[in-house]
Point group: C2
Chain length 141, copies 2
DNA sequence: GTAAAAGTTAACGTTGACGTTAACGTATAT
DNA sequence: ATATACGTTAACGTCAACGTTAACTTTTAC
C-alpha cells in the first residue's frame, strides 16, 4: 500500500509527470522499481526527495546540475555507511570521507552566503515598507 | 569624470556587454544617456543597480521577470516621492500608495518564506556534516 | 471482454537568458 | 589621417528545463 503511480506523485508534488520522468532521466531522482508491465512504482522516499528538489530549485535557485552534485554527495555518504569500517579498505574510505567533508563544507558556506544576502535584501524591502507607510500616514493625518 | 563606457561597466560588474544591453532591452536596467555618437554613458547608479540585479538573480534565484516587477515597484515609489502631496490628485496618490504597499508586503512575505526554507536546508547540511565528522572520528580513534 | 483512463518511449517545440557573428559607425593614440 | 580598439544594431545560435504531441501498451472499471 506504499506504492504510488506517477500521477499520484504528480498530484502530491505539484510537478507534472513529464518533469518527474525528466528528473529521473537526468539523474536527480533515483529510478523507482517497475511493475510487470513497465509502470513506475514510487515510494514515500521519492516524494520526499522531490520535495527537496523543488525547494532547492525554487527557493535556493539551484540549477538541476547543482542539485545533481548535491544528490551525488548524499549518495556517496549513504554508500559509505553501508560498508563495515574495519576492513582492509579502511584507508581509502577515510580519504573518501575527507573528500566528502570538503564538499559538504563548501555547500554549507554557499548556503550561509545566500542567507546573508537574503537578509540584506530583506532590509532593503523593510526600508521600502517604511517609506510607503510614512507616505500613507503623512497623507492620512 | 563619473561617466562610464559599457566596457568599464562590464569589467566592474563582471557581466558581459551583451548582458548589460540585454538588461536594458528587457527593462531591468534603466537606460543611460547617450553621447553625440550614440554611445551609452553610464553612472555609478547603473553599476549599483547591476550589482543588485546580480544578487537577486544569483543569490535569491529570481528570474529577470521577477526582478522587473521589483524594479517597477521601486520606480513607482520614486515617482510618488517627486510629486507634491497637497494637490487635487491626493486621493489618487493615496490609493496608489496603498497598492504599492500591498506589493511590497507581498515581496516581504516571499523573502521571509525563502529565508525560512534556506534555514531548513541549512539544517540538512548541518546534519550531513555531523554524519561525516562522526564517520571520520570513528575511524581515527 | 471491452472501453476508457492512465501508463510508456521518442521526438520535436518553446521559452528565458544570454552568446556569437556580421556589418557597420565612433573615439583615440600615434 | 589612419589604424585599431571600442562602440552600435540586428539577427541568428545555444542550452537548460521542461511542454506537447504522436503512436502505442497496460490497468482499471464496468
Amino acid at each position: 500500500m506504499d506504492k504510488y503511480k506517477i500521477d499520484d506523485v504528480a498530484k502530491e508534488s505539484g510537478l507534472t509527470k513529464r518533469t518527474i520522468r525528466y528528473y529521473e532521466e537526468i539523474g536527480v531522482l533515483f529510478p523507482p522499481e517497475r511493475s510487470e508491465g513497465g509502470m513506475r512504482l514510487y515510494t514515500r522516499k521519492h516524494i520526499e526527495r522531490l520535495s527537496q528538489i523543488v525547494n532547492a530549485r525554487d527557493v535556493l535557485g539551484f540549477s538541476l546540475m547543482e542539485i545533481q552534485d548535491f544528490v551525488a554527495i548524499r549518495e556517496k555518504l549513504d554508500e559509505q555507511k553501508q560498508v563495515y569500517w574495519k576492513t582492509e579498505a579502511a584507508e581509502e574510505k577515510l580519504s573518501q570521507l575527507r573528500e566528502i567533508k570538503v564538499m559538504v563544507d563548501q555547500q554549507m558556506d554557499m548556503v550561509d552566503q545566500k542567507i546573508n544576502k537574503m537578509i540584506e535584501f530583506r532590509k532593503e524591502i523593510e526600508h521600502m515598507q517604511k517609506r510607503v507607510n510614512d507616505g500613507i500616514s503623512k497623507m492620512t493625518t
